[in-house]
């Protein structure tokens, strides 16, 4: 009996408060929303595409310059490595010396070799260029993420 009264009270409450939120006819509302959603999607696509094209136009010369510089550096390093013939020397040493000493010599050679590369000084010389190149690559990545 109590449950029945509670149920009827619940029903009466729903009827009373339901009147405060009467049903609203669509009347083209959902169509308007859909048009706006589609327009928004297109706007976003156009904006992202324009930003990507603009970014590429700005970034390409810098990235090209950066790649050219890196390839020159690599060619120079390869030439230096060839003249010093470190690997060949290590190979012949390995056949004569125990493994531990060979490893020690290899490690020293590697240190000398990396000292020749001196990435810190190279970076300091081309800091702006590296920054620009990295930013360009990051912007492409960000564009991709935003698009998703």
């Amino acid at each position: 009996m109590s449950n029945e009264i509670e149920g009827q009270e619940e029903f009466a409450m729903q009827a009373m408060f339901g009147r405060e939120i009467p049903p609203v006819a669509d009347d083209g509302f959902s169509k308007t929303v859909l048009v706006r959603v589609r327009r928004k999607i297109w706007k976003r696509r156009v904006t992202l595409l324009s930003a990507t094209v603009l970014g590429l136009v700005i970034a390409l010369p810098t990235v090209g310059q950066l790649l050219l510089m890196l390839s020159n550096e690599l060619v120079a390093l390869a030439a230096r490595a060839e003249t010093s013939d470190t690997l060949g020397q290590l190979g012949s040493l390995a056949s004569l010396l125990p493994l531990r000493e060979t490893a020690q010599i290899a490690s020293d050679e590697l240190k000398n070799f990396s000292a020749q590369i001196s990435p810190v000084s190279w970076y300091q010389q081309n800091r702006l260029l590296v920054g620009a190149g990295l930013l360009s690559l990051a912007s492409l990545f960000m564009t991709h993420i935003l698009d998703r």
């Binding site: 009264i5 009827q8 009270e9 408060f17 009147r19 939120i21 049903p23 006819a25 928004k40």
Partner: protein, 179 residues
């Protein structure tokens, strides 16, 4: 058989399916617009806010977590849109003003009102602003207490006490006992 909200949401998220989203808009526009009309007190403004609500929902749909109903999620966005608009425009009209006017209603008016009997159009006046919103969310829209808590931004305990007090007030004034 009609697709469930969940499957439409998943299509909207995964395939960016605008048709699926359109179906969701058609399903829920009535409640969202009704809720905003209640909050704003101006159907034109409410419809503008409802459009913004659905645009925001489209933008944020990937963040929807199926903890509560999709409708409760939409109503939460709608309320935030309303509050944002109120802050932006600095308007003192609409919901806030009506609520303020109602809280200053003196006792004699209440007595007079009581004497007139149960006027269905004015029954909400016996409730406080938050109580009214909560009662509409729970009884008018049919949200759970938890969902009403999310939509209103009030703690669950407060929502429960608003419902309890609201029911008592309505019962006391109008004798809603199911007779």
């Amino acid at each position: 058989m009609a697709a469930t909200d969940e499957s439409l949401i998943s299509r909207a998220i995964v395939d960016h399916d605008t048709q699926a989203f359109d179906e969701l808009v058609q399903r829920h526009q009535s409640r969202v617009r009704g809720w905003l009309r209640h909050l704003a007190g101006d159907p034109a403004l409410a419809d503008d806010l409802a459009q913004e609500t659905f645009l925001r929902a489209w933008k944020k749909i990937a963040t929807y977590k199926a903890k509560g109903s999709f409708e409760a999620w939409l109503l939460t966005i709608a309320r935030n849109e309303f509050l944002q608009n109120k802050r932006k425009s600095g308007r003192e009209t609409g919901h806030l003003e009506r609520l303020q006017a109602e809280t200053t209603t003196d006792n004699s008016e209440s007595q007079e009102y009581h004497g007139e009997g149960a006027d269905a159009d004015r029954f909400l006046e016996i409730l406080g602003p938050d109580e009214r919103d909560i009662m509409i969310l729970v009884y008018g829209i049919g949200l759970s207490h938890n969902e009403a808590s999310h939509v209103s931004g009030l703690p669950l305990g407060t929502v429960k006490s608003h419902v309890r007090r609201g029911v008592l007030k309505v019962r006391e004034k109008f004798g809603v006992t199911g007779r």
